[in-house]
Amino acid sequence: MKVTFKIWRQENRNTKGAIKEYKVDGLTEDMSFLEALDHLNELLVLKNEKVIAYEYDCREGICGQCGVFINGRAHGPHDNITTCQLHMRSFKDGDTIVVEPWRAASFPVLKDLIVDRSAFDRIMEQGGYITAKTGTAPEANAILIPKEVSDSAMDVAACIGCGACVATCKNASAALFASAKINHLNNLPQGHPEAHKRVQEMTYQMELEGFGSCSFTGACEVECPEGISITNIAEMYAKYTKAKLFG
């Protein structure tokens, strides 16, 4: 299988980047997209060129480290997957594949396809936790949590923090990410005591980081590898209003 990659190359965050073209042969349909890039990098090394920098770690769709914009879609042409779960069988022989880094003011490019997503960590820092020191927990079954509550918390807790929601959003909004964490913790009884504080502080940090606002295009829930629903954003708005009124 033979494809033409058009890949964003950029030395570091202070330099300008540009798309560069690479023709790659010898790929197979079984290869994952990242393995195809690995293959390209080996060819580049042998040609005495610098390798393309891109991120990955677990390569099974859970760590959230990989993520690039492939042919006009976050994580590539399929819905609800990560870049590492994309395989070359999704492309045709002779295809041109355009690969770009996530684009958002809050996600500056560090090199080539690697962006800095530490803004997410800073949002988490502002209350994306339950204040409970090690050693202070009551018996696990002492607080009953109905299955529906636990299940819906799990639905959003599944967020892998890859940033596809921000990448695909025309406004670079981090609303889906923030709402996932807020709803996970605020809906559990353990998270109730800090609920009002949490939703205000985390969303405030989201604003400080320079993310845009949500237009409910719904693109994020289509690209989210965990399929987290945008109704969570609405739920976050409700929690925010409640916190402002009664918090």
Partner: protein, 636 residues
């Protein structure tokens, strides 16, 4: 040097309490003056960093990923064990201890293993309080399922993403303490060397992966929480970035490496499909609760799985191990699969897989129940293979997974270098020669949250009186210079082969000779092969780019250089241990029907290797079984 495991006095049940009673305390005002470096931000690293910070220590935490939330604990799927006995099925701390000890084929310390079981129950309380959405019954109580090597249901889980949920809980606690300014986090920072001053661990050299800058950090104690080293096989279930460099550098600076050859091959991963493959994806062992493993009875059967009638299927685990069946421990299940595949009964395009079939479970429990339990695993399977496992069986195959071996630690989790601790998968402590499913998250968490924060005082109390060296100390100078020399050397070879080429070659040798079954001849050959490969690497590898920039190729090269040396030690250890135990299966030591033969009279010890100028010197920590009589490990 005599290895002192520092096991406390008393009955098994009292040892941890006795230890805590006698351990030194440090008053809060003094804790503020002490600082600890934690390398790694996984379950054990983040747990340790957050808890140490809560106690009042100043903590600096490092990870090579872009965020602490990426650490590979995130990928553990199936669950975490705890002796809660919520299911009323006869579980207890003692039974869990015994299962773990037996699962490890009696190659771990009784006291450590007992402590693991003992602390498991409060750990579940802890995680529930931190907001982990464990699976629940309609009535609101926690649910359990069973895992390999066990006849009770003691595994807690959050769908097939338990590791992710636990890690995110630990990560959130870490960030809570970052906000409190008690932890300073350094992502995209890789530890490149350890600095030992006057025999004590005092600092690390770190490479900033964005700028390439080498930086020095000093502390009163260093905690390594850097995970497993199974990427030595290249194809494994581990993350691509997982590496053994931190512990290897510590080993070269004097920390003993225990049982390096004890590496677990997981029975239920997705089979390899091509040479270019970089990773074998794990399918959780929990699937074996409801899935039945089989191969066709006929060799080279080309029919589709669903077309093969029931009586022409060989449910070989149920046949060979009737009492545990599909839930036989991992090493046994892997070896049984290998045996069938090698004998020509493998399925799939490359004939390297076996079937994991859910049809019976779906017929019996209904498709909805199976969906509730494993939906995301089935989804993942479909994403990767394009196959709908609700309709036809999964194809699975063994893959390198966990390293029971690691830095030798005593009961306090301290290595042989004073002030250097190892927690989680990177140490050798509780699992012996084979780890039971769902014990990995447990050990990582307990080490980080509960044990280390209680044992590190004993050392740090002494550190209070000492002067803290500065980063200008000669040892820092020396270590940084050595690192610089290695980096320059790698960059200047300018050979003809890529790093990945060498890694593939290393992986092939290791997988062939030092994985599921090993023999003397093969291991001796492997050592020579790896040595040759290493020489070839240092004369013919090609790494482009420079050291002063984000250079992923250089990162890989440095990690691989350490893996090659580690591979030699692993084979050396496997060669030395002339018995079969747990994951270590020596072909010369088996019964007629292929079961392992353990040789307690000669090998009831933990091998602890000392680095000696490119050579390795063996020390033995004899295992004394005071409370349990080691028996033949049978799952028949």
């Amino acid at each position: 040097m005599k290895l002192d495991s520092k096991i406390p006095e008393g009955r098994l049940e009292d040892k941890w309490r006795n230890y805590q009673i006698k351990a030194q305390l440090i008053n809060p005002a003094n804790k503020k003056k002490l600082n600890v470096i934690v390398v790694g931000s996984g379950l054990s690293g983040a747990g340790a960093a957050a808890t140490l910070a809560e106690l009042g220590y100043d903590v600096q935490c490092f990870c090579y990923q872009d965020s602490a939330r990426r650490a590979h604990s995130v990928a553990a799927q199936g669950g975490i064990n705890a002796a809660k006995n919520y299911q009323h099925d006869g579980d207890s701390v003692w039974r869990m201890f015994y299962d773990t000890l037996k699962g490890g084929d009696f190659r771990s310390r009784e006291a450590n293993t007992y402590r693991l079981a003992e602390l498991s129950a409060p750990l579940i309380d802890h995680f529930v309080q931190q907001g982990v959405p464990f699976a629940r019954e309609y009535g609101g109580v926690l649910v359990n399922r069973s895992f390999g090597g066990v006849q009770v249901q003691r595994t807690f889980y959050a769908r097939g993403q338990t590791g992710q949920q636990l890690l995110l809980a630990a990560y959130s606690q870490l960030y809570k303490m970052i906000r409190a300014k008690k932890v300073k986090m350094f992502p995209r920072s890789e530890m490149i060397d350890l600095v030992v001053i006057d025999g004590k661990a005092k600092g690390i050299i770190v490479r900033d992966l964005v700028t390439g800058e080498l930086k020095r950090y000093v502390a009163d104690a260093i905690v390594l929480a850097t995970g497993g080293y199974s990427r030595v096989f290249r194809l494994s279930t581990l993350a691509i970035g997982c590496n053994g460099s931190a512990i290897w550098k510590a080993h070269k600076r004097g920390a003993f490496f225990a049982a390096p050859s004890f590496t677990q091959i997981h029975p239920t991963a997705l089979p390899q499909t091509s040479e270019a493959q970089s990773k074998l994806t794990l399918m959780s062992e929990s699937l074996r609760n409801d899935g039945r493993i089989w191969v066709p009875k006929k060799k080279e059967d080309i029919r589709k799985a669903n077309d093969i009638p029931e009586k022409e299927r060989d449910y070989y685990l149920e046949r060979r191990y009737p009492s545990f069946g599909n839930l036989a421990p991992r090493d046994i299940a892997s070896r049984a699969a290998k045996e069938r595949i090698d004998a020509g009964y493998g399925v799939g395009r490359l004939k390297n897989a076996v079937y994991l079939d859910f049809r019976h479970a779906i017929d019996k429990l209904g498709i909805q129940t199976i969906k509730d339990r494993y939906e995301n695993l089935f989804g993942m399977y479909k994403k990767i293979t394009g196959i709908d496992a609700y309709k036809e069986p999964m194809q699975i195959s063994p893959a390198a997974h966990f390293s029971m071996g690691g830095l030798w630690v005593d009961y306090e989790l301290m290595t042989t270098i004073p002030g250097l601790y190892a927690v989680g998968e990177c140490n050798f402590s509780d699992h012996g020669a084979n780890r039971l499913g769902a014990n990995s998250l447990l050990q990582a968490s307990i080490d980080g949250y509960f044990i280390l924060p209680n044992t590190i005082n004993n050392y740090l109390a002494g550190a209070l009186e000492e002067d803290i060296p500065t980063t200008d100390h000669i040892e820092f100078e020396k270590a940084e210079k050595e690192v610089r020399v290695i980096i320059d050397r790698v960059l200047n070879i300018n050979g003809t082969k890529t790093v990945d080429h060498f890694h593939r070659e290393l992986g092939k040798v290791m997988w062939q000779e030092c994985a599921m079954s090993r023999n003397k001849k093969g291991l001796e050959k492997a050592i020579l092969q790896i040595k040759t490969l290493k020489d070839e690497f240092w004369s013919d590898v090609k790494v482009t780019g420079s050291g002063n920039e984000l250079n992923t190729e250089l990162e890989k090269a440095l990690r691989l250089a350490d893996f090659m040396e580690m591979g030699i030690l692993m084979c050396t250890d496997a060669l030395e241990r002339e018995e079969s135990c747990g994951a270590h299966f020596r072909e010369e030591f088996q019964t007629e029907d292929g079961e392992a033969v353990r040789v307690d009279e000669n090998y009831s010890y933990v091998s602890a290797w000392e680095y000696d100028e490119g050579d390795f010197k063996l020390h033995k920590e004899e295992l004394e079984f005071e409370f349990v009589q080691p028996s033949v490990r049978s799952y028949k």
